[in-house]
Symmetry: C2
Subunit: 324 residues, 2 copies
């Protein structure tokens, strides 16, 4: 019993000693620890079969027209499930307009893509397959290629047992979305701090948290993924991208972009919609100027940057699937 309860307590990272308050409860209360799983939509229950299939689809390059580009090419697990280059590079080496967002914790977002043109992962999943600068693949042809593998016919049937013809576009999207909902990064130092481990953050990191709240960063970067999933106007150096306007055609949406998550921001550089900003320090300074209308002092930039580093969580464990 004693061992068990000790384990339970340490699992919560909330030992009695560490609970001694550091006087920042009012700040901590503004944040939420990252849950292990995001909300699961009612019409796409999270099953092992879908996740396993979705993982195969995520790593499957033969649903690209070249046969060598998969979701994992730009959402590279070795690179924070992103690509660490300014703008996405896809079919035939074409360079897109925007920086690749990480898929980590993307299930927590209420708007997908920089311009929020899809509300959820199911809507997002097929876009990059068809985009001419990404995988450049006709969707019917992708499904035909998948159908040519007996294993995939079986896996789709297992994942969607109620469908008569389970290997279809909707189910490809459902399975990809299911896999992506498992790619979360809980237990970052900041999460452990929020759960009561007062020693999980250094004093500078706590100062950064305070600066982050007091300066108003938290107005948009809030909730478990530190984004409001809303659209805010910003024109960063070198960008002429019209953003949300391209989706809504509303004048007021010009140059608006969805607030990016700050989870794992230290390992998902470069920054901004055009990926032109290489370091966190620069990014923090630009956000201060553009979004908050203030020039941060060097100390604030250093503190906030230190805080942002505490948002790097545990990377998902997975085995690269063996494809047919």
């Amino acid at each position: 019993m004693r061992l068990l309860s000790t384990l339970a307590v340490s699992a919560l990272m909330a030992s009695g000693a560490a609970l001694a308050d550091d006087g920042l409860e009012n700040y901590r209360d503004r944040f939420e620890a990252l849950p292990y799983l995001p909300p699961i939509p009612a019409d796409n229950s999270l099953t092992e079969e879908k996740v396993e299939l979705g993982k195969m689809m995520f790593f499957e390059p033969r649903i690209s027209s070249s046969g060598v580009i998969s979701c994992a090419t730009c959402h590279n697990p070795a690179l924070g499930w992103s690509d660490r280059i300014p703008r996405a590079t896809g079919h035939d080496g074409q360079v897109g307009e925007r920086n690749t967002p990480t898929v980590l914790n993307s299930g927590f977002l209420d708007a997908q893509f920089w311009d929020g043109r899809e509300p959820d992962l199911e809507g997002q999943a097929l876009g990059p397959i068809e985009a001419s600068v990404e995988m450049a693949m006709d969707l019917d042809m992708a499904l035909e290629r998948l159908t040519s593998f007996d294993l995939y016919q079986r896996k789709f049937a297992e994942a969607f047992p109620e469908d008569e013809e389970p290997l279809n576009a909707d189910n490809l999207a459902y399975s990809l979305a299911s896999f992506q909902r498992t790619l979360n990064t809980p237990n970052s130092p900041f999460d452990r701090y929020l759960r009561g481990d007062m020693n999980a953050l250094t004093q500078q990191e706590k100062n950064g948290m305070v600066a982050f709240v007091d300066n108003g960063c938290i107005a948009c970067h809030r909730g478990p993924a530190l984004t409001d999933s809303q659209f805010h106007a910003i024109q960063v150096p070198g960008s002429t991208d019209l953003g949300r306007y391209l989706v809504t055609d509303e004048e007021s949406d010009k140059y608006r972009f969805r607030t990016p998550t700050l989870r794992n921001v230290a390992v998902t550089y470069p920054y901004m919609n055009n990926g032109a900003t290489e370091t966190l320090e620069e990014a923090v300074a630009i956000m201060g100027q553009e979004m908050l209308g203030r020039d941060f002092e060097e100390q604030s930039i250093a503190d906030i940057t230190a805080f942002l580093h505490t948002l790097t969580g545990e990377m998902p464990h997975f085995e690269v699937p063996a494809l047919p």
Copy 2:
């Protein structure tokens, strides 16, 4: 004690019962089970530090000029450490002349590349980085990019502690070669059979082994990796590739290619130097005609194909590295 010795025996896959001979000892004696590791060269000892670094380099796309192509793009762990397309597709979607060989068990080969232009993995490793149709990267620029990461400076220093400037081209090759030497696939059904488990192969698979020997396939496909690492003339449909001649300039080397390994051949399709052959059955028939001057009967093709499937071993377990 009893448990221990039981474990030891089962680890060898050589229980008393299964040792009862099936009368094919003379055939088995022509083969060699795959060792867990290939020979390690005297000037590149296999250390954990080199293997870990080599793994990072293998998955590192920023040593390509586009920033998105790594060794793992064409030598894709999800696809038998190859690419399952006819001919390698690299920088800007360019398609090369030859089919990508798997890196699995490549440490057992005495000649690298289809034309054997390098004798070992150390010699092979940097070729694809610089090749204009593959990663298309200037080697000095690749080293410069690596040097820009503190983590890589440290990892190279740890892997090559005796070098004053450890982050150099030679050590990049040494580390990649070291990682590749760990990518072996022991314990295939055929290996278990060779080690004494008479039930590891079906009767048809054994018939295939017999046909493989009796028809002379084993003349070139021999040794632990089922290749002699020698060069043999073959012109498969659709190929005008001059092969080994391009390396030696010797008339007699025209159309010669290194015998490919047959280890994991069932999961490393398509086949031949130009990847134009999709199925094992076709490949077996072509080899009969081109190399042995005989038309195999359908039964022989089916048997040999069944045998070739027993050469698929245990895929290497690894975690995708977290790159800086």
